[in-house]
Symmetry: C2
Subunit: 152 residues, 2 copies
DNA sequence: ACTTATAATGAAAATGGTTTTCAATATCAA
DNA sequence: TTGATATTGAAAACCATTTTCATTATAAGT
């Protein structure tokens, strides 16, 4: 059923690129799995460090980068000075969604309602844009900014 | 016709908040006017410095921040490690638009076609979201990612 | 015009997230 | 089991941005 893998879904993805399965990588992915908010590298480091104190912040950065490269993780900048990461589109992971960002307290909320309307709009617009600008569109992001319930 | 202003449009906006009209601020706004791409603080500083070498980078940052606060400038992060700025919605300035971002060469293109479809979609979605999450939506951003003509 | 309170400025130093370096270690194909 | 080499963690470097603080410029009031 699985290609060459003898482990979870993500191990195949790593090995496919020649990357090795290591304890730090396993732990970091596990941590990403367990959280469902938008964590910074430091967030991940703190949690990883509690479980395995030998892990270094550098490795967290490197692993998050690699996972971003592979498309397993998505990297965001919400304007608070540090990058934030989140697992995407995997078994257990979140599905395609967008963000509601509070300009005052910087809270980030996911929403995935109304994807049917979105799909229609995005497909139409992406099609026109890629034709007009000869641009190959592979992804998109939609964000709404404003004031959350507590800040308004 | 103009409120209290005896200068260009933006001077009224500044004075309205109690801010003073200064040479550095005039120059920085002029530079933003003259460019039509997405400049970093350092970009602005270099150009400003050529005209008036006494200007400091700190002032460029402070002025861009202030203009962002006032909504005269929009601040972006396209993932290359430095913030980028662009004049918005002013006489001479660009109108509302969105971005096409090349994941390989990091080129950023503006597009403002198809705003009618967008308006319809955004209005509908924003309405539903603000009701459902009790979130006051004041702005939005739509970005498409992929490969530009030269990189595909 | 002159005065004056204070907003704004620039240089330098500090900050803080991220990246680089490098010697030690762990992984995995053979 | 071995060995080539990918990966690791600590420390240092990097670099965009912010803070500090003494000096200067603005504009309101006279
Ligand atoms: Mn999210
Ligand atoms: Mn733009
Ligand atoms: Zn809020
Ligand atoms: Zn490109």
């Amino acid at each position: 059923m699985r290609g060459r893998g003898r482990g979870p879904w993500w191990q195949d993805r790593l090995q496919g690129t020649g990357a090795r399965i290591t304890a730090p990588r396993e732990l970091i992915i596990e941590i990403l799995h367990e959280t469902d908010d938008h964590v910074s590298a430091a967030d991940v480091y703190i949690r990883a460090h509690q479980i395995n104190p030998s892990i270094g912040l550098t490795t967290v950065y490197r692993t998050l980068d690699m996972l971003t490269q592979l498309g397993i993780v998505q990297k965001f900048d919400f304007g608070d000075g540090k990058a934030r990461y989140e697992l995407v589109n995997n078994p257990n992971g979140k599905k395609h969604h967008h963000h509601l960002i509070c300009l005052r307290c910087k809270t980030i909320m996911d929403y995935s309602e109304f994807l049917d309307e979105e799909l229609e709009f995005v497909k139409k617009t992406a099609g026109k844009l890629s034709k007009k600008y000869n641009f190959e569109i592979t992804d998109h992001a939609i964000s709404f900014y404003g004031l959350c319930e507590r800040c308004r």
